[in-house]
Subunit: 401 residues, 4 copies
């Protein structure tokens, strides 16, 4: 067995480097098309989201940024400066800005790919507004998930849509400040079922390159075909200098938005391993945005968020104790069983002591999840938000038909 203790400094180093962005929408009630199960403690407004994110950041010590969805988090007459200062009061910064191009009724047949130039313009303008908003709140990252696609063969011209999309994206690149990067997500299906305009990493890569030097690819761990090798895609994007960041979650079937590593922890470990391996081999630390993108229909939202952060920390710590030089040597000799054994030994090594020690050093609780349960925070917000929800007449649920 590995002597984990001798890896303490490596573990501390990767934990110091790992900041994870929280999603504002992860604190609100979300669900499936068959309905939402409401939680009293779910955030009602942006202030609630800031409060919850701040609580998670305090407990975990590594979540200083909150990703925002323009549509859900900002009102038209809200001043960006105000938002920024409100975040700062909660000890947070605004993280990635997410334009929203999938919900408006006008986007029924697409947004940036829509056959109608007027609707494309509208969508482009929304993205430009998002970019500007990002500049105003000192956010460095714009993240685009494009839901565009079609449901039936023949419904639209696939090549024409690609052309429209490329043109729109190039326009957007022109509006970025020199400090902003634009991350292009991909997803095989849902909400479109016959074709999705940005369906895989190859499509995002091609269009990110066509956009310009500040565009990169965003890997959502739940947005792949079944059995696709995600860590290989990560390795290729790193090698091509085009990996911009991650949306963390896990899945079994489709885009299930489950907690990171809840279904296949070994796979998430291997993703971290590829990133650390790249850093080891090249001596370069890539700039990667780590963002959580999960919607919890069943789990308590704050708990799930803390659990995700803790899980990511444990898995990156396990990846950090891989002995890359030893592994390279085993690989050179094609000692397959030896290679595999070394990698799995790292995965199964108990690093909880090292992670706990790091937390204590940071002045935070050795077990943030338990600390949360004991904090009383949940009880307070449950009571307050239940009552506010009643006063506002908000009913959660929704009906399929």
């Amino acid at each position: 067995m590995n002597d984990a203790s001798k890896y303490a400094s490596r573990v501390a180093a990767v934990l110091n480097d790992l900041t994870i962005e929280l999603p504002s929408w992860g604190f609100a009630d979300t669900g499936t098309r068959f309905g939402k199960f409401g939680q009293d403690s779910a955030a009602i407004d942006f202030t609630d989201k800031l409060s919850d994110a701040s609580h998670v950041n305090r407990l975990t010590g590594c979540c200083p940024k909150l990703a925002v969805h323009v549509l859900w988090d900002f009102s038209a007459n809200q001043q960006p400066a105000e938002v920024k200062s409100q975040a700062e009061q909660h000890g947070l910064r605004i993280g990635s800005i997410n334009p929203n191009l999938f919900q408006d009724q006008q986007y029924k047949y697409g947004s940036l790919c829509h056959p109608d130039a007027k609707i494309r313009e509208h969508a482009v303008q929304h993205c430009i507004d998002s970019i500007k908003l990002g500049q105003a709140v000192d956010s460095r990252v714009v993240t685009l998930w494009l839901a565009d696609g079609s449901n039936y063969p023949g419904q639209d011209n696939l090549r024409a849509r690609k052309g429209r999309l490329q043109e729109c994206l190039q326009t957007l690149h022109g509006h970025l400040s020199s400090e902003q990067s634009f991350l292009l997500e991909y997803k095989p299906f849902e909400p479109a079922f016959y074709h999705t305009d940005l369906a895989d990493w190859g499509m995002s890569l091609a269009l990110a390159r066509a956009m310009g030097p500040q565009a990169k690819v965003l890997v959502d761990t739940g947005h792949h075909y079944q059995s696709q090798n995600i860590e290989q895609i990560v390795a290729w994007l790193l090698d091509e200098g085009m990996l911009g960041g991650f949306h963390f979650n896990d899945r079994r079937y489709a885009d299930d938005d489950l907690t990171l590593a809840s279904i296949d922890p070994y796979q998430i470990f291997r993703i971290f391993y590829e990133i650390l391996s790249y850093a080891h081999d090249t001596g370069r630390t890539p700039t990667i945005e780590y963002m959580i993108d999960q919607s919890h229909n069943l789990k308590p939202k704050i708990e799930a968020m803390i659990q995700t952060v803790m899980t990511a920390q444990e898995l990156v710590a396990k990846a950090a104790i891989v002995d890359f030089d030893l592994l390279a040597d085993l690989q050179a000799r094609q000692d397959i069983v030896g290679c595999e054994r070394h990698l799995k030994q790292a995965f199964f090594t108990d690093v909880s002591g090292l992670v706990t020690a790091w937390r204590v050093e940071q002045g935070i609780s050795p077990d943030p999840l338990t600390a949360h349960r004991e904090s009383g925070y949940l009880e307070v917000i449950e009571k307050e938000r239940r009552q506010r929800r009643q006063e506002l007449g908000i009913v959660t649920g929704g009906s399929y038909a």
Copy 2:
């Protein structure tokens, strides 16, 4: 090439036999978790649904029944007799009764499988009420899709849940009248993502058998693992005497609820072929409920319904012109290319003339879709429902977060 004309009587016979039940929810606004795109013409209430279904039945001549979802279609104080008579006024009968066990807040962790006996009792009572309602409106079929499942390993005891489910189902069987049958659906995932309590046909078969003689299996064409051979499942269920019916739709990835045969028409043809082959080989015509279960987020709802019915008719007509004796002979000689050629020739034979002739004989339009577009029905309901929606203050859309 086949001389399709000599198959006129066979085609007419299968078309005479094919009645397709329409889903009440298929006329209402539905969508994905990322929102609904509202249609002015979408049904607002049950009367609208009856009106739309009646229109489709008039145009197609083969949809005399409307499936209902207890939760969405009936109000507590509505008399079943009234519902039945209202349907009759539209020239319709009430088809399958669908209890709804997935939407209420109490079903967060399941309904018939829930760890809490109180909630199971509540769910059972809802199903009993549905069964009684079916008796009151002369419906012969209760159809259960069970959304129960869990999202995370360890969340609940899989075996215990199976036991609870079996017990509840056996209770329900005791409430069926001798004329009612109970169809048990299955689905691999969604809304549950780690495990679904009735995940595949084997599970539905085992529990239908455990329920009693009036329970059978319902095959939803969109509820299978990728690459699973649906027609083989149909053939097995027929052979076991356990095929109760179908929910018609198509899919590419998951439960996409697209129009029947829009993605893989050859597969739907093969399902019809298995059914006709069974009837040919055994001399028995199985009692099978054909029901549409589609939710159209993009397509006009009435058009999509008519298109589905027409597609089913064309495909069953193509299956009817297979020469089963000739094929059996080719199979006995294992002339694979010959077998395949014969089957595909039937699939590609132009049967539109035969189907059209049958429609004309029924006194209906040779092209129901065009007849619908020319009928003016859509314009009338669009105008009336748009206005009514405004008056009622109904806003379609919904927000993910």
Copy 3:
């Protein structure tokens, strides 16, 4: 964190119970359709296989049985008594008997499902011979993987094939001695690509039930649709009293025959957890045959076998430290995060010390893999078999076309 040491007795108990059968074919050269990569140390004949299996059993202390494939392991004029005694000389017993119905030229269109009654009779006779052979060598288990299927729609009558299969299997059941059980495997595809006659657990279950009381279902961990929940199938088969055994391996895409838990260790852990949970809840220890079915194209065969056994031991030990009562309590309260956390904590607990201690108590090496590498066994057989292969003129490789 769990204090693993207090679980020492539970771990020892499950390790005492876990005997794993080795596959004779796992020591021979195997490959993909694109060729085999020969290993000097690969077994050439049955004596080699016995020798290798005996070596693995000596090192691991839990593999006293060798599964055999009638076609590859026995010559026509070999006396069963001789085989049995030869095995005993190696400290082994003959495990499951595997009839072989996929390789002969006559099985081109199937064996037990073949349209031609003569070929079905031939296949039945081969199975009867296998059953008798099993009786003669004191083997208790006959294991059938049926490769039958078709490649093209229409190639054969799916229902007729089911009927033929059922008839043949019922005949076979009549030849079992009262001590023999018959395990029916399933597999979605390969070598047949359009349909496979025993494609999923539901089909194996239906036909095992139709066979008679001594037939049960065999779960090969690599024979499932992508994203199918294997542990749920295991839980259902246990509950139905129909789980006969396992073929251990892992896969990423199809039936890849990789080392157990090499791709998704958490899943294999969950399978063990379901088995131990069943035993805990019911107080019954089910009779389950654990068999390895892997073919290593790249890994050294003996190493891979030892690695598999060690992996199974570690994972069952991890499953053994789950506190079932505590988990049941968390489940009753639907504390999802608590449930998940408890299960994963068991999975990640370092049990290597407990497993090592158990080995030392058994008088075997604490690290069988290292013991093997240091034993010199490989070098001896490599040299001897390389030379023998040359003398016999055996060339490994094979050509795709």
Copy 4:
């Protein structure tokens, strides 16, 4: 319904343009890892393959080229000029040259990606030899399917392998004559199961671009993830100017190598539709190599080849009768049902008369498959090859273990 007759000239035009390359290996005995089912008529040597291909070309009138696999078709001391002239005597030209990098024992851990530079050099040299051979026989296309990959996490460094591959491919590009193109295939898995070095179109595209201007991407219709939209990939590659050609076949699960359009004919139709749509919209006819890559384990090989060619002709003819302008108009109005109806009407239009008429005009049989069955060719080669096989002592079959 479409009046197919008015489309006669369009159908004739696409049929004139469609030449399909036959694979030499498609006439030889191939199989699965579980064995090969020998056919008396299977080609034994290259002369047989030329004879069979020539027979197919005579009957179909559109297969003037034979793809060759360097390893299986050429002996070391054979003069390329001789091969070329032998082909010409059969009325054929040598089509694509396929280097073979997967079968030799030295390629156990890879070829162009192998950790050992010596083996990479050996593989590069084999490819250079193939390129030169292509020049010598006037073949314009080199086609590379790379089987390289790994079976276990950690087995090799994914990024390092990418680097090695890129370097080798760039070297190869330098050896191409100005008339040669190099087509890079991709495949998600098999024979490697954990990762494949060229796993998807995005990887092939990235490396084809890195190679140089004469490299393009080859789409094998069977080499995709389940549910992946192949026609979208085709549309993107066309738009990027990087579509080099196709390997035609069909599949249900994995790389099943079934007859084109035997499982999902609508999908293959949509691929042709994308190609013709590109030509219509841009006025450019792309240079696309259409090649069959099928291995028939069950079907008679020559029949299967003829059937494939006939199927491709029927489907491209159906695609040709799509009214692209009308469809564009329907798309602009987002008349989804109208779009879909138009596309499917083309798919279901009976074009057999038009295709037959074209054949008669070419002076070939209106039904090549029947013509083959009546030609007596099969009986002659069966007898001759059966005898020759006996004389040569060739036994087909092979054993899994």
